[in-house]
């Protein structure tokens, strides 16, 4: 229960932090999308319901803070979480290069979705940004995901004594009966 109580506050904290940090580091050039990394992590390590709720809340907060149409990132994050959830059956999160590759793909897919959505919904062409914004951003997220997964594994080790392997989590039991 505490997870659901703290989730909105943690989401606000994370999104504001990443926005401020990106502003300082990249001066508006790139978005430091730590929230996507967290969503991927949730897809890999949490049960489906918790992961989906976390993704939805993070998406809503990100939409609100970033000024995007409400529901845009909520929807994209839900898809990313769902994708991560199903991918986690096939790849183990301990292999960080796989995580990096998956994060890169997720970010690129998200960018492509944004390009298409803006093209058809607002008739705004974001294709020019693909090379100089979305690809560097995807690479950045890929690198960040490695650091984040590694750090979380160390935290889990400290908290639970040992890190839980993906193989232990993979399986239908991760679909939580509570909803």
């Amino acid at each position: 229960m505490i997870f659901y109580v703290l989730l909105p506050f943690a989401a606000v904290l994370l999104v504001v932090f990443q926005t401020t940090l990106a502003d300082v580091l990249f001066n508006g050039w790139l978005t430091l999308e730590l929230s996507l990394v967290v969503v991927i992590y949730a897809g890999f390590h949490l049960d489906l319901v918790k992961g989906m709720i976390a993704a939805f809340v993070l998406g809503l907060v990100f939409d609100s803070v970033a000024g995007a149409p409400l529901g845009l990132f909520a929807f994209l994050y839900l898809l990313a979480d769902l994708l991560a959830f199903f991918v986690s059956f096939r790849i183990v999160s301990e292999k960080l290069y796989l995580v990096a590759g998956f994060a890169l793909v997720c970010s690129l897919l998200e960018s492509l979705a944004l390009v298409f959505l803006y093209r058809f919904a607002f008739e705004i062409d974001l294709l020019d940004d693909l090379l100089f914004v979305f690809i560097p951003q995807a690479l950045l997220i890929s690198i960040l995901s490695v650091g984040f997964f590694y750090a979380m594994r160390r935290v889990e080790g400290l908290m639970y004594g040992e890190t839980m392997q993906s193989s232990q989590r993979a399986g239908a039991f991760r679909i939580s009966p509570e909803a």
């Binding site: 606000v12 489906l48 939805f56 803070v65 409400l70 529901g71 909803a179």
Partner: protein
């Protein structure tokens, strides 16, 4: 039973559909700042403020550090500049002092109706037995042995050894120096002889003559060496108690021999100068 078994899947489906509906609604109607956005922004504002303050302070500290690094560099440059300016100031001060000295020399020059040759002191010999100066002008500049040498406010000695481009000045206080003088107030004549660090003594003034401490002594012009009226010094002590016919008189020259840097050599009397002043005895 169906809902119980698939409620997670149903929940996921509902969430996704809800997100799509939310997005579609917002895309179509552009609802602006809804209740969700308002709540999120309300919650995010203090967090944003906190992060901004934290990052601002870090940025400020960094900028101050950068500023300090710049300040250190600036400080180093300023110190270097101060050193250069101080050196320049010393040069200017030296120039000023030289100008003052030359002005004083010029006043001496103007006070006497003679032609002078200015010279710079290039060496000093202040040994026990010899009190001489070495100047940077010589025969090539018209100097000859015996010519009087002046410095503000009056006589300091005469030339002895003169080479092509330098000359030696025998100072008044040298033991070998003898100058015909007279007491300005009473016109009593005597001979001022060098006495080394004690200054000079005035000889051959009898005990019946009126001489007091403080009297000004000038050249008498009775020899061919020194023209009449050049300031020599002031009587500092008069002793009439000793045996003999003459007083023992001490004379302190006006010139400060330790601080001489430029001097004037009196080369000749001006053509229109009064006869009495052209030549001494």
């Amino acid at each position: 039973m169906f809902f119980k078994n698939y409620r997670t899947v149903i929940f996921i489906g509902v969430v996704i559909v809800g997100a799509i509906i939310l997005l579609s609604y917002n895309l179509k109607y552009d609802s602006g700042t809804g209740i969700v956005k308002t709540l999120v922004l309300e919650a995010a504002a203090p967090v944003q403020k906190f992060f901004n303050a934290a990052i601002g302070s870090v940025k400020g500290a960094w900028m101050r550090y950068i500023h300090l690094v710049g300040l250190e560099e600036n400080n180093r440059k300023l110190k270097q500049r101060i050193g250069e300016l101080e050196a320049q100031l010393i040069l200017y001060r030296e120039g000023y002092l030289e100008a003052e000295r030359l002005k004083a020399l010029l006043s001496v020059r103007n006070n006497y109706p003679h032609t002078f040759q200015a010279a710079r002191v290039i060496g000093k010999e202040q040994a026990a037995l010899s009190k001489t100066l070495w100047i940077d002008k010589g025969q090539a500049h018209g100097l000859k042995p015996g010519m009087p040498v002046l410095a503000p406010p009056g006589l300091i000695g005469r030339l002895t050894d003169v080479s092509w481009h330098s000359a030696k000045v025998l100072l008044l206080i040298d033991e070998n120096s003898n100058v015909d003088v007279l007491i300005q107030r009473t016109r009593v004549q005597g001979i001022a002889r060098g006495a080394g660090s004690r200054g000079c003594v005035v000889k051959y003034i009898s005990k019946i003559q009126d001489v007091k401490a403080g009297d000004v002594v000038v050249t008498s012009g009775l020899s061919n060496l020194f023209p009449k009226g050049l300031l020599v010094g002031r009587i500092s002590a008069v002793d009439s108690m000793g045996g003999g016919l003459f007083r023992q008189i001490r004379l302190v020259p006006f010139a400060d021999f330790s601080a001489l840097e430029e001097v004037l050599v009196l080369t000749a009397a001006l053509p229109d100068a009064p006869e009495g002043k052209k030549k001494g005895k």
